[in-house]
């Protein structure tokens, strides 16, 4: 058995959120630079330049990349040989509270969806816990902005809709969203499972490295096709019209019911912030 002190969880969560909000992952920067070269619209090329300059300034002066420092989404992968004493959710929320108050991040959470009073410390976080064999304790954090989240969707397709139905849904979602979710986007797609599983997979897909490939050959092929289709919408950076609406599409899949073809599409703005660490 490996013992984990929850104080270390709190400390690491705080560090990861502050880090994620100001430091865009290197491979996202590289992807933005490549996309800028390929962009055909002069206006969108300029938008790419400004996005890249913003990320450089954020890193240099340790300023949040975006004023929307998001809802704090936390994925914990915990090995069955790991033990800890106390309330893991409380430890995570304490880390979030410290990150958002000490780290000059925006508090964007209201305590109730209808009375809308701000909690003033960005808690509670949204926490997903996955149990695995072994003694791993992995933390993935993703500050998720509201603008792109609002344009995300879940649709219960049926088997007859097939892969064409999925493609149409992704293209329609991106085209209708236009500039609202801050393209260039990263698109997480969850296919299969059931109603809630596909939404979670779409979010998990956004945690994948921007330059990785799906290990599933069908998903891998679909990612390439969807990227091309989405870029053909012409939406472009900020919706100004261009050839690079999307930086990457990530498709995660799961077995599902014989009657169902659940699909979730989680849109991520160009500020594709996520960080991870092992304790």
């Amino acid at each position: 058995m490996r013992k984990i002190d929850l104080k270390d969880v709190t400390k690491k969560i705080k560090e990861l959120f502050i880090d994620a909000c100001s430091n865009l992952p290197e491979n996202v920067m590289e992807t933005l630079k490549k996309a800028k070269e390929q962009e055909q619209s002069p206006l969108c090329k300029d938008v790419f330049s400004q996005i890249i300059a913003n990320a450089e300034l954020s890193k240099e002066k340790q300023l949040p990349l975006c004023q929307d420092t998001g809802v704090a989404v936390v994925f914990l992968t915990i090995g069955s040989e790991v033990v800890f004493e106390g309330d893991i959710y409380q430890a995570v929320n304490e880390g979030v509270r410290l990150a958002y108050t000490d780290g000059y991040l925006r508090k964007s959470v209201v305590r109730h969806p209808l009375d809308r009073v701000n909690t003033k410390d960005n808690t509670p976080a949204i926490v997903h816990i996955k149990m695995v064999p072994g003694d791993v304790f992995k933390i993935d954090v993703a500050p998720k902005g509201g603008g792109s989240e609002n344009l995300s969707t879940v649709k219960m397709l049926i088997p007859a809709d097939g892969v064409e139905g999925i493609k149409n849904l992704v293209v329609k979602t991106v085209a209708e969203a236009g500039g609202k979710p801050c393209p260039p986007l990263v698109i997480g797609v969850g296919i299969g499972g059931n109603f809630e599983k596909c939404a979670l997979m779409a979010k998990e897909a956004l945690l994948r490295e921007i330059d990785d490939e799906s290990p599933d050959p069908i998903a891998r092929e679909l990612e390439k096709e969807l990227l091309e289709l989405v870029n053909n919408t012409g939406v472009g950076a900020m919706g100004f019209g261009g050839t690079k609406t999307c930086l990457a599409v990530k498709v995660n899949v799961h077995p599902c019911h014989i009657a169902s073809l659940p699909v979730a599409i989680n849109l991520q703005c160009h500020s594709a912030r996520h960080k991870s660490a092992n304790l």
Binding site: Q50, K61, L63, R106, N150, G179, K180, G234, G241
Partner: protein, 181 residues
Amino acid sequence: MIKLTCPVDPEQIKKLRAGDVVYLSGTMYTGRDAAHKRLCELLEKNQPLPIDVNNMAIYYVGPTPAKPGRAIGSAGPTSSYRMDAYTKPLLEQGLKVMIGKGPRCEELKSWLAEHGAVYMSAIGGAAASISESVKSCKVIAYEDLGAEAIHKLEIEDFYAIVTYDSVGGDLFADGIKQYKK
């Protein structure tokens, strides 16, 4: 390149066309969903607003807290369509410029034409860079709303692109038509 001073000269606003790049200096207000809701509730009751919006610009932003030594935190635009429901009454009060990001409702174009106003886009997610053009930031209404309070900003060479002008021009529609395959 077009330079504009806020409060604006209404005649200059009418001449702007979708696609124009402008650099704004002077004073503007911030406002998001919650502040807009309160402003419109006051107007419904025929009560005075805490700010005079005549010939002014409202920037849809909820900044991060300012780090020591900085005028404002990161301050990029939020999605403008959420303010559509509150926009008409403010245009009737003389509001001339709205700055945000993303497309808005179709009716907005006729309201802009009626009131000689424009909608501009700032670059979504370029929040650290944008903060450099803000010289001072002061809460002037609804402090309880935190980042959503109305702030008065002094700005210098604030970059924006005219997206909907006052004669029906629409940068989004034109641009997407050109690059759609």
